[in-house]
């Protein structure tokens, strides 16, 4: 018998999940809570094996609840149940120790499968969630470039090249057909990005790291 505890700030959702699990012979719902604080207090006495935990709750949210729960009871298996599939939330939840992530509109089989798998010590992600996690891992590179500076935008590079060609601000404005103020903004942003104190410093760093290329 797998002992399951449900945490969600909506009574309706808890009832729905209970209904969904009541016909499962090997699963028993041993308790429910409407918020994170309550859950942390009550879960130990129910001797639950698996916790179904909502993310978006007022007060202590699911992510912090998960962290606190697992710190005190590392043997607990937590499955996040959520309406949301933003990868930042999924990643936070998984890095805080959740073993499963199921969307709220998942079918009965998904929920049961998640509970049994997690109980067996494996992990379980909803098919959709799985895809999101994979995508975000695959997309990770492309972010870093060779030097440590934030990338110069195309327009900033154009301004930089003009500066290297000893154009004055007014001349750059005329050449690129933009206002004096906009040239100044681009120049200032480049100072911020490179950490240079003035245009001379910017020129030195630009030449050293070939930022204009």
């Amino acid at each position: 018998m797998i002992r399951v505890f449900i945490v969600d700030d909506h009574k309706m959702v808890i009832e729905g999940l209970e209904l969904l699990l009541q016909n499962e012979a090997e699963i028993e719902v041993v308790g429910t809570a409407l918020n994170g604080e309550d859950a942390i207090q009550r879960i130990p006495e129910t001797q639950a094996d698996v916790v179904l935990l909502d993310i978006n709750m007022p007060g202590l949210n699911g992510i912090d609840t998960c962290k606190k729960l697992l710190k005190q009871h590392p043997e607990l298996k937590v499955i996040a149940i959520s309406m949301h599939k933003e990868s930042s939330l999924i990643k936070l939840m998984l890095s805080n120790g959740a073993k499963g992530y199921v969307l709220k509109n998942a079918g009965q089989e998904d929920v049961v499968k998640a509970i049994t798998k997690v109980y067996e010590g494996k992990s379980y992600l909803d098919a959709d969630v799985n895809e999101i996690v994979m995508n975000s891992i695959l997309q990770q590179p492309s972010k870093q470039n060779s030097n440590n500076f934030p990338t110069l935008s195309r327009r900033e590079k154009e301004v930089l090249i003009c500066i290297l060609d000893e154009f004055t601000t007014q001349e750059i404005a005329d050449k690129l057909n933009i206002s004096f103020g906009t040239v100044e903004t681009h120049r200032r942003n480049m100072l911020i990005k490179t950490g240079a104190r003035n245009t001379a410093g910017l020129v030195r760093i630009a030449l050293e790291y070939e930022l204009h290329k």
């Binding site: 729905g16 949301h84 939330l89 327009r155 900033e156 007014q170 057909n177 903004t185």
Partner: protein, 672 residues
Amino acid sequence: MVFLKSKKAYLFLILIFIPLGTLNSQSKGSPPSLDADSIIAITDTLKTGLQKIKILTSNAGANRYVPETRRLINKALEISIREENPELLANAYYSLGNYYYYNAKTDSCLSSLNKALTYLEEYDDPLLNASVLSSQGGAYSKLGAVILAISTNIEAKKILDGIDSLTLDEEQIHKLKGRTLVLNNSLANLYSQTEDYEAALSYYEQAYEAALILGSKPNAAIILSNKGDLLLKMDRLEEGLKVLEESKAKKMAAGLPSRFIAGSDLNIGIAHFKMGNFELSLQSYNSALENNRAKGNTTQLMQAITERGILYNALGRYAEAKADCEEGKGIAKEINNSEYIIKSCECLHKSYLELGDFERSLDNHIRYTKTKDSVFNEKNIRKITQVGMQYEFDKKEAEQQLLLAKKNRQKNQILAGLITLGIFALMLFIFFRKRLKYQRTIASQKDSIQQQKIVELQQHNKLTAMSSMIEGQEAERLRIAKDLHDSLGGLLSTVKAHFTSIQKEITQLAKLNITEKTNELIDEACIEVRRISHNMMPHALSISGLPGAVEDMVENLKDQGYEVTLEINNMPEEMDNTRKVMLYRLLQEIISNVRKHAEAKSILIQLLGYKNEIHLIVEDDGKGFDLDQATGNGGLGLKSINSRVEFLDGKIHWDTQPGQGTTLSINIPSGS
């Protein structure tokens, strides 16, 4: 809780607008039928134009709903135009404006009132001026432009407060007090609409006092009743109930028609319901119902029967709840009242669910959702128009002030200029050659700085108005997102669970492929709710912070096939929540603009914290545009982005030309 809240809102929209004007004509008894010919004949015997106009307009005012009235007003217009007297013209156009107002031609009404105001510039009559403004406020309110209506009414009230009553005769004093009463009541109604309940309450109290002073018992009873409704809306239930009961007694004492008493009963019932006194609530609903059935008041009957159905639902008497709400729904459909279609369908959805009739339950839920959606859309459109109108209004005002200032400045300048011209000419001649070179170099620099300063000053006024609008919008968005997530999202999940549990028992139906389709529909609805809720208020923002939420946004963009470079550097840890949301929303707006118009392939997004500022750079390789032209065309996207930056006290630089892509640099103080 969410259900309760919306219930309150609908109720008050209906009940709070018992216009005092209707009451006046009723308490005086129905007006005698109008004999326009004899009035015009009497007019011709009078000597002065003013006397003629007074007779014509006062008769027109007393018979505002009768089409014949138009002839009197036409005569008044004819006389006033012939005499070319601003006093007569202002009175005649005011009368025409009122006639249009009561005959539901709001646009014509506004244009007539504007004419009256123009003539009042030549002729000083504060009482008439306030009356015209007050009518204008009423017309704005009819158009749903609540903010404009409030500012117009406040202007009117200022004028009234500034009138020295010592200079008036008795009739004028009576008029002044009456105007003040009506203005206070409409201001209270308007503030209640904008959910500024404290202000609304204070105006009701002022209006009530004014009514007592005037000795108008029916008005006092109605205002008290409005105040009671408002207190319910503010969740001050016990107080509200007390006031409602007092107003009911006053209404009876003032001999108001029975529909007003029934209205009180209905609201007292609602108050009891909210306080959990179901027995008392039922009694009040029953007496309201009896009264309304006897008199055939369709609207109130619909309200009372539906509210009773909701009460039965709460009592667990589902069969009775079903019967009542079906009747309520029938009437609501007939008179096309969306609030009560929503309420009754919501109640029926629950009753049928409890009675085990899933099909009807689902039908009603679909209807509930659809109607609620369309009401929501309507409200949204109204809100957008309102922001637009407010903007135009502010712009006009700023332009006028600028013009005035310019005129004054010119006069002074000419005088001072003449005196100093001689001296300056001499000095200038000497310095001219030397400074010419220097000036050329710094002229453009100075220009751009000064231009910016002027623009900043001009926009400061507009900003205060805009920023409060934006803040209001944010609060509204948060509320809607919460509603969506709390009610609809949870509900859908439950429906899904229920549905799954009965699915097995109806495998026969499954053969018809209906269950599968329904299942797909529910999934689709879940996705849609998630999408809308996310767009309204991204939950990730509060949990994983701005960087996390922006990363999510970028991932989404990548899924759509854009090549995106995102760099987040040195962002402040702690940030005021509103600023966080506003900054996210700004980026969302920029990205949506790029997606809609730019036809870009790759996008660079950089969020860099530096000292006390946040630098946001967004660059695309799309088709770019002509900035001057786009600004001139009043592109909504640009305007919205610019005003969001202004709201954050930031600076924005657009760098774009057709065919050259767009680079957007924004500096925003990080606050705190």
